[in-house]
């Protein structure tokens, strides 16, 4: 079980309100990702749930029980830190055993769980090494192992992949998703990388300046962003946002079109422009089109290879059904 409910949870550091009161429910077994730009309060929110920071107001319920004032150890949660936070002078085995030792678990049970975790995480041959002798990905797995053996009601991940290189990050992303499918335990995952959020989450919580901008499944957020901020944050490359006359034509303050919903053509279309930088990835091509008068550059995604070069004049046509409209407050119309 691992249902976590936040009721009016707020956090202030002195005079500065980092998180205004917010409500959020995380269902048992869900994979929830907190995503937002750096400094948006997502890590602070995670630390409030973990109990490493005290709330300034509101209540935190874990499985229906008030855990607002409970110590971190008593909440039954396990956390994986950005720096892994392994104990450098202990072997991998002792690192993994540490929470069980602290809980006074009998030795045979400890050993059984260590073996199981090591097998699941491919750490069996490293059990007697020190953290300093392991690679980044292996350290990450030890940190996860240390969290697993406690059999917590929820896992908290604080930007666990940000210290890994790109290839390893993709691999670990899959491993963590795999782990979630196997354990079916609640997981709360903090990241600033919207690709991680989109690929792993059951539910994404988009935060900005401590406020929840939108909560929903990855595709909800992609197809129906609630406001300009979410529209610009979710999706890669970013959504094109236009204001002014073109937006007024659609009866909105701002309109947004995703790069993949604009057709590019050398002969005909709605908006004229000039190809600036183009990126060819083989499967996709991205064009940064200048001089359209809509915005400084318009990003366009096109499948496969297109014979367009720097400086070519092109025409752009948006997919009318996929234009997002926002009012003067930035909210979706």
């Amino acid at each position: 079980m691992g249902q976590i409910t936040l009721q009016g949870v707020a956090k202030r550091f002195g005079e500065v309100e980092v998180i205004p009161p917010l409500d959020l429910t995380i269902e048992d077994g869900e994979f929830v990702v907190f995503v937002g730009p750096s400094g948006c309060g997502k890590s602070t929110l995670l630390r409030l749930i973990a109990g490493l920071e005290d709330v300034s107001g509101g209540r935190i319920l874990i499985d229906g029980k008030d855990a607002t004032d409970a110590s971190p150890a008593k909440r039954g949660l396990a956390m994986v830190f950005q720096s892994y936070a392994l104990y450098p002078h202990m072997s991998v085995r002792k690192n993994i055993a540490f929470p069980m030792k602290m809980a006074g678990m009998p030795k045979p049970e400890q050993d059984r769980r260590i073996e199981a975790a090591a097998k699941a995480l491919n750490l069996t041959s490293y059990l007697d090494r020190r953290p300093g002798q392991l690679s980044g990905g292996q350290r990450q797995r030890v940190a996860i192992g240390r969290a697993i053996v406690r059999e917590p009601s929820a896992f908290l991940f604080d930007e666990p992949l940000s210290n890994l290189d790109a290839a390893l990050r993709v691999g670990m992303r899959l491993e963590i998703s795999e782990l979630h499918n196997r354990l079916k335990t609640t997981m709360i995952y903090v990241t600033h990388d919207q690709v991680e959020a989109m690929t792993m989450a059951d539910k994404i919580v988009v935060l900005q300046a401590g406020r929840i901008e939108q909560v929903g499944s990855p595709l909800d957020l992609y197809h129906a962003p609630k406001n300009v901020f979410v529209a610009g944050f979710i999706g890669s490359p970013r959504m094109n946002l236009f204001t002014g006359a073109v937006a007024a034509d659609y009866g909105a303050q701002t309109i947004g079109v995703r790069p993949e919903h604009i057709r590019i053509s050398a002969t005909t279309g709605k908006w004229q422009g000039r190809v600036g930088v183009s990126e060819h990835l083989g499967s996709d091509s991205f064009f940064y089109v200048e001089g359209t008068g809509l915005a400084e550059t318009v990003t366009v995604r096109s499948g496969g290879e297109v014979g367009l070069r720097h400086g070519d004049t092109v025409w752009l046509t948006p997919d009318e059904g996929k234009i997002h409209k926002f009012d003067t407050n930035g909210d979706r119309i």
């Binding site: 490493l52 110590s71 150890a73 949660l77 104990y87 202990m90 540490f98 929470p99 602290m102």
Partner: protein, 289 residues
Amino acid sequence: MATRQTQGLARLMRAPAIILLFVWMIVPLCMTLYYSFLNYNMLNPGMTSWAGWFNYQYFYTDPAFLESIRNTLVLVLGVLFITVVGGTFIAMLIDKPIWGQGIVRILVISPFFVMPPVAALIWKNMIMHPSYGVLADVARFFGVQPVDWFAQYPLTSIILIVAWQWLPFATLILLTSLQSLDTEQMEAAEMDGAPAYSRFFYLVLPHMARAITVVILIQTIFLLGIYAEILVTTNGGPGTASTNLTFLIYRAARLNFDIGGAAAGGIIAVILANLVAIFLMRAVGRNLD
């Protein structure tokens, strides 16, 4: 780009400094060795003669000799114990963010800037003096007979004074070590359910092992040669109760004017220091790797 030629050049450039240091070390050592085999007394400096092992035998059979070695070790170990334990404690206290942190830290470190004889005199006349010392006032306030520290507990008193002087050093080194402790590790341990004392023994102490080793090694070097504090307080007494090896050598050289005997004592002190160094490196040296 360390070619053979530049290596040779580097060696050449280093040589003067190394030779100077070597001469600086070896000449006094050889002279001491040489004197330790001579009958050489300042009262009669013209009459030197070869003494063989007599000086060593004389020094060794001095009834104060064994006691002085015991006192030396007790002094070193006592001060080490107080400074390491107390230094860890104070370092943990002033590591916490408090108001006026800068001033508190300077105050804690300031005893280190007081010269040893001055510190010893302050302790002797203003703190531990049986009639007008602060401790005597405190004792009288509670209606207790004041303790005559230097008469009743001479070695303990000196240990206290020296520990007071070295506590800031230990605190400073241990504080820097504490400050480099990763806070996420402590938080992870907290989430793992480790209470404060477990976090101290499983995380803080192993992290500080290297700093504690540095404190022990450096302090031992200086504590083996403690001398000024003894001279201005107890003068080695009562009897020889607070005489350490350094002070015994001083007595031979400057009170009995026996250069040969003092030189023999000096060589014995060098051997003792090396024994302690070997023992220490075996015991704690691996923490420095």
